[in-house]
Amino acid sequence: MSHAPHRDYAGAKLGMWLFLFTEMLLFGGLFILYAVYLHRYPGEFAAAGHRLDLVLGTANTVILLTSSLLAAMAVTAVQRGEGRIAVLALGGAVLCAGGFLAIKYAEWSVKFSHGIYPGSPSLVAGPPGESVFFGLYYLTTGLHGLHVLIGGVLLAVVALRVKGGRIHAGDHIWLENGALYWHLVDLVWIFIFPLYYLML
């Protein structure tokens, strides 16, 4: 009756990839809305898009890409048996997640102080395309921000498990799947950034 716990790395990774598909599709719904409404209000989307802060958006892109690099380095480090480096790299990635959220907070606060938030009087009175654009902007970046938060917590937990020796070269599926999740968070942003900040 007492079998050793069933271990199947390929299975665990397959399950994680399937879960990542569902996450992409979750954001996919918002991207569909973006595509349709961009087609309907190209001028108003462009005008509204220029009101986003390109510097802060770029900074966040750099931060997320760096954090993804750190997460990938942590995986390699653990595979080589260098747990201390892995903990440092993961710590760096968690810091990046915090930095991203701080910048996002600053970005939103400025917008709020200018009276741009869902259902605000200036948006309700303004052109309809603008209201739709900012509605989508807040929902998409908000949902993404929630994923940054979840991913950051996940990486912190993984870092503690590496430190405690529970994740090591022989058993690091938690780390690999955690890093995969973090890359997804990064990937979604790689779509959000050009769509909202760059191409309008």
């Binding site: 665990a12 979750l26 869902p118 052109p127 807040y138």
Partner: protein
Amino acid sequence: MKQAERTRPAALGGFWGDTGKTGIGAWLLSTDHKRIGLLYFWSVLGFFLGGVVLGLVLRLELMAPGRTIMGPQAYNALFTVHGVVMIFLFIIPGIPGAFGNLIMPIQIGARDVAFPRLNLLSWWLYAAGAAIILLSLVTGGGPPDTGWTFYLPFSGRTATNVSLAVFGVFIVGFSSILTGINFVTTIHRLRAEGMSWGRLPLFVWSLYATAWVQILATPILGITLVLIIAERVLGVGLFDPGRGGDPLMYQHLFWIYSHPAVYIMVLPAMGVVSEIIPVFARKPIFGYKMIAFSSLAIAAAGSLVWGHHMFTSGMSDTAVLVFSFLTFIVAIPSAIKVFNWVSTLYRGSISLDPPMLFALSFILLFSIGGLAGLILGAAATDVHVHDTYFVVGHFHYVMFGGAGFAFFAAMHYWLPKFYGRMYARRPAVIAWALMFVGFNILYFTMKVLGMRGMPRRYYDYLPEFAGLNLASTIGSWILALGLAVMLVNLFRGLWKGEPVTGANPWGGATLEWTVPTPPPTENFAEEPVVTHGPYDFRGKGTP
């Protein structure tokens, strides 16, 4: 021993007793796929019965024109809750959650699913979502009155408790996704030696196709439900025409999930029927490869037809044409299944045991409902019957006559294996006959009413519809009576019936009939090696 035998299934051994754990914790915290399957079974059955009561009350209100037993607001809430409970808490998790969990790992020769703890989490999420939905009925502005489709902009404005109900459905959807991920991974990774894809039982094939739909479609429901809450709480206005939004986009997003969702409901049912027909016809299934393939084809094509719910909503003619064409495509793999089942029956040695009766009525009722689906899928006829009782009749034929009857077939086919006791045959046949007759009176009249122009979801109707509505309500009583007889007989049998002797009471050839009755925890004493196909009955004998 004799005393114990008469009282409870646990006395019969297997997974009921071999872990040595007892009490409620041994169930609510168990990662055994059989225990989780039974948790699902009892919870979905509970919600099914709740939904049945709501449906009976609805029919009672509609028995005569004008006010019969309730006001219009109560009526709106009632049909909404009936739909939400039946769809999200019964049919979607029903066969995969209950019988998928009970049967699938054994059928592929595995000890459990790939992620047993995730499996338990799925049930807990289901339970939590269901609890939130129930909470939404008694708190805030009262039960939602939007219909189970939660169409915006109305669902953004109504004062009823839509947000909480929608949040509950979101949680249940998450549970559905996790079950899908678990099943796909299990079927890929945990098949026993010799269990090639060409030897997978057709129930497993259907669950595999279903699991992909669960994975790929449910997230779209998730984001759609989040958007409803955002509309209500934040007033974003993405679907509000006054603010630049488009309500039609809500309908697109909703049906991108909710049309494939009907295949989540009916594909596993088709799998159940594909298991039962060959066993009770004593003949290998006809067209194994085509039935397996058609499950995948239905899942794929069914994901591209959502627009047929919106022919009258204001889409372009091109879109209507494309969606109508794709809808007709789905009929092909569905018909492949029906013809293969019928070909399996041809010159078979058919025994009309209760599971077979339910499976046979599935073929008939599903065909009636499916062909009515083509009337709805053709744009020209749809314009006439859209949003009439024809749709209600069609939907209940495929969902209740299809998925529901297959669920009952699965109960009569597999539960004796897990409880180690057999129900009485005669009452089961009588119950089936009552249900079959009641069902057709209840829902066929709806199709006629729809053809004559009675709109659905209306609280009242014109006097000329009174006769058929009365007949429909009487049908609902016959159906309910049959249901009561069936459940009493079945559960009496499972608790007190004749012990099932031997592993294989029906003469099946799939792996679940090779393990002891009831199966032990972890199913197999040693890992099985599969040497023949799932419908190779040679040497199985007839019971």
